[in-house]
Subunit: 206 residues, 2 copies
């Protein structure tokens, strides 16, 4: 290790882009080969730069993972903000929950990294904090949409909007966990069916 | 590494017990410090035996993890078989789902190991196979109970028993994932509320 690497190429004004590039490499390694293979050394090798160049931005494995997870949360947040939210609350919630599932290649990579990250968050409070910050933001959005639907008579009211939102997000997280580990090609279909079953219960008017 | 360790203490007829003891040590390390710390060397050190003695039973990290996960699945299976199944299907399903949550110390340790294991299963087909074998057995039991309730009019019938069972198990897995990573003491209460909300939808007659 050590800080003696050639950091010239990183010393420009493009630090943010460099950090993003490295975070994407971390995501790729975590998704394809597992967190065991994420290290300053492996990331430097995959990026084709020196160890010192990576250490200029990220000093440890946890710092790398944090950057990758933050990038996932940011990308997810961007996608959710960019969503057409003009429909009925149920339709917006459905789109939001489907954004969490590994429905295509890039999202499969993201969710594999997310599960690996969550597993490490169990023993790393700093990572757990970032995960629950992101989960809390999602819950705020879903709770708000469920409340709107409760007011318009489209969602059940015998359970609190908060618990309904938590339950929907639990289905999405559980379905994601089961899908990314499944050898079965039909897992994604089942995951969507689970989301739709849960939505059907929360929004029975459809 | 190498196989030169003193394996005398393991050469008795107690192989099964030794394997179980080592699996429990793996679970403890994975739950407390994370999978990064599970290795033949670390397990030997925690068990107070030689590396060769561990290698006599488990040749690699994956073999250790597999043993720990198999032990979790066996323990869970024993608990489920020992459950009083005389009640209504909804009550039996509830008890079964609560067995999956980190509701007490030992189950918290188990579920932390389970999430770490599932994360590694993403990149290790052999581990994924064991996870999905166990999940499939749980799903068979829950599906059967939901079918019984559908026949007696206690469960909804507009969604298939298979999808209902998958949805309930997704809530349990999602709630477990969120609870074991949560810094919030109230997380377990929320997890149970999510299970009860989902049960209320599947078994509306209660």
């Amino acid at each position: 290790m050590g800080h003696a690497g050639n950091t010239n190429v990183w010393e420009s004004g493009e630090s943010v882009d460099r950090r993003t590039q490295l975070a994407d490499i971390v995501t790729q390694i975590a998704a394809e080969r597992g967190l065991d293979h994420v290290s300053v050394r492996e990331v430097a090798s995959a990026a084709g730069v020196s160890i010192g160049a990576v250490q200029h931005h990220f000093r440890s494995k946890d710092a790398l993972l944090l950057a990758a997870f933050q990038r996932y949360a940011d990308t997810l947040g961007d996608r959710i903000r960019a969503m057409d939210q003009s429909g009925k609350p149920r339709d917006v919630v459905r789109k939001l929950l489907l954004e969490l599932l590994p429905l295509d290649g890039p999202r499969s990579t993201e969710t594999r990294m997310f599960i690996a990250f969550a597993a490490r968050a169990i023993v790393t409070p700093e990572l757990a904090h970032v995960y629950h910050e992101g989960l809390g933001q999602l819950r705020t959005v879903v709770t708000h949409l469920v409340e709107l639907a409760q007011q318009s008579g489209d969602a059940v009211t015998h359970v609190s909007a908060d618990t309904l939102a938590r339950t929907l997000l639990a289905v999405a997280d559980g379905a994601t966990l089961q899908t990314v580990t499944s050898p079965d090609e039909g897992a994604v279909t089942h995951a969507v069916a689970e989301i739709d079953a849960a939505l059907g219960f929360v929004f029975p008017g459809y």
